[in-house]
């Protein structure tokens, strides 16, 4: 449990950046945990979200309602609550619980992005496909999915950045990610300011890298 520095002496107020180098190992291990946890959740939530979003866009009333119930249920309960439920109530160990909670949470948002992407494709295209004699599956496979995948790249970018940001929560169930390590350094040295600054910069860099990668992806698959 993080604690505030109990007694602040005047000499503590000075900034000492050397602790960053001293604790570089902790920063590095926390950074790697954050990176692979986010990467795994990005892959997982994309798969689950794409599947749910596509199912929710099929011309079936009850399927649509079922998927929207799924997203409403997951979106309206905070991530920490899900995380604590998996960890404390179901007794799943820290890292699987974090993966599960983060993937489920973000998959609901991805599903909504996918549904909106499919809805933005003009209805006339489906009619055109039908009149050309294509079946529903062919229309889905060759008409809707390729267009949807391009449309959803920008909103997906913000979802992926959100995953990186939300992964900071897993420290609360003792997964030793970047935020957790920052807390440890703060407890050990009372140098919370320096550690938090470094961590903030690292998160910022991760987010920027994500945005750059998605921009490259968008450019690569743009229609010419």
């Amino acid at each position: 449990m993080p604690r505030a520095p109990a007694a602040l002496k005047p000499k503590d107020a000075f900034v000492d950046w050397s602790i960053l180098w001293q604790y570089r190992g902790a920063f590095w291990s926390g950074f790697t945990v954050t990176v692979w946890l986010s990467a795994a959740c990005i892959v997982g939530s994309t798969i689950v979200g794409l599947l749910a979003g596509c199912l929710g866009s099929l011309p079936s009333f009850f399927l649509r309602r079922l998927i929207s119930a799924y997203t409403e249920l997951l979106r309206n309960i905070p991530l920490v609550v899900k995380l604590f439920f998996f960890y404390f109530v179901l007794g799943i160990p820290g890292i699987p619980a974090a993966l599960l909670a983060l993937t489920l949470h973000q998959s609901a948002y991805v599903a909504d992005v996918v549904t909106a992407g499919i809805r933005s494709i003009a209805r006339g295209q489906v009619d055109a496909g039908l009149s050309l004699g294509h079946g529903y599956w062919q229309i889905f496979r060759y008409l809707i999915i390729p267009q949807m995948l391009r449309i959803v790249i920008p909103p997906m970018t913000s979802q992926y950045v959100a995953i990186i940001k939300h992964s900071s929560v897993v420290g609360l169930v003792a997964v030793q990610d970047l935020t957790f390590q920052t807390q440890e350094i703060n407890v050990a040295t009372f140098r919370g300011f320096e550690a938090a600054t470094a961590t903030t910069v690292l998160y910022g860099l991760l987010a920027l890298a994500m945005i750059a990668a998605m921009a490259a992806l968008e450019k690569r698959f743009a229609w010419r």
């Binding site: 993080p2 107020a13 900071s168 938090a196 998160y203």
Partner: protein, 256 residues
């Protein structure tokens, strides 16, 4: 087949009929869930209902207070980003984007751990929670307000200019009233996001809903009913706000 039952079968083919069937199904699932949960240790938990309710109330208070403070702070930020001279505009943009790109938990820790170092006085966890949530709300609401200001068609501003209105008059009488109306759904949507974010101030020891549930669980050890109450409390609160958005604008796509 009699006429009445045939009418029911017919009505199930329509969107309205399916809607009713879906609602019936949801109701049945809820009843089945309640029936399945009847043997949980409710007796153990019942005595602490006031404590839990207080926790939920604190979460609501935190969300409402910080969205209010955040909205007050967000207005000058958004105006600086939209209308400010270049330097001010870049500064406001940098501030908003920085806060938006840092994890919410880090912002809470920032305010709780490093604000005392900067101002040289202790900050208690409630003040830190209110402060950090307000900072988060301000950054996100600034974007909402900016989108609202941009949502007023350019042609209206040009029309106002040709009738000879001053820039201040255009802003106060043409842009602002329409922008405010357009930004209401997004503003309420931010309240949902903020309400969920209040669960993070658990980490600095504020006795909000999540912490009050975990505290009671530590003494009573009745995780299933308590976490059911926890999930229900958050779900009902957020869902209610969501419905409020739908009531304002049925076509609004919730993004939080």
């Amino acid at each position: 087949m009699s006429g009445a039952s045939f009418a029911i079968v017919q009505s199930l083919r329509t969107e309205r009929g399916k809607e009713w069937l879906w609602r019936l199904g949801v109701l049945l699932v809820v009843i089945a869930g309640a029936y399945a949960a009847r043997d949980l240790e409710w007796g153990k938990v019942a005595a602490s209902w006031q404590f839990l309710l207080k926790g939920l109330g604190r979460s609501w208070l935190l969300a409402l207070a910080s969205i209010f403070v955040g909205a007050v702070a967000a207005f000058p930020l958004a105006l600086a980003r939209v209308y400010g001279p270049t330097g001010v505009r870049h500064a406001a943009t940098a501030l908003i984007e920085t806060v938006r790109s840092i994890p919410e938990l880090m912002i809470i820790f920032w305010v709780y751990f490093t604000l005392p170092l900067v101002i040289g006085a202790q900050v208690d966890s409630w003040e830190a929670a209110l402060g950090s949530l307000s900072v988060i709300a301000a950054a996100y609401l600034a974007e909402v307000i900016r989108a609202g200001l941009y949502s007023v068609p350019r042609g209206q501003i040009e029309a106002a200019e040709t009738t000879g209105m001053s820039r201040l008059h255009i802003f106060l009488h043409v842009v602002l009233p329409q922008a405010l109306r357009n930004m209401v759904p997004a503003l309420i949507a931010q309240l949902v996001a903020l309400f969920k974010t209040t669960s993070l101030v658990y980490a600095i020891g504020v006795m909000e809903f999540l912490r009050s549930v975990t505290v009671i669980n530590n003494t009573l050890f009745a995780p299933y009913p308590l976490y059911l109450i926890l999930a229900l409390g958050y779900f009902v609160s957020c869902f209610a706000i969501t419905r409020l958005v739908r009531w304002f604008d049925p076509k609004y796509q919730l993004v939080d």
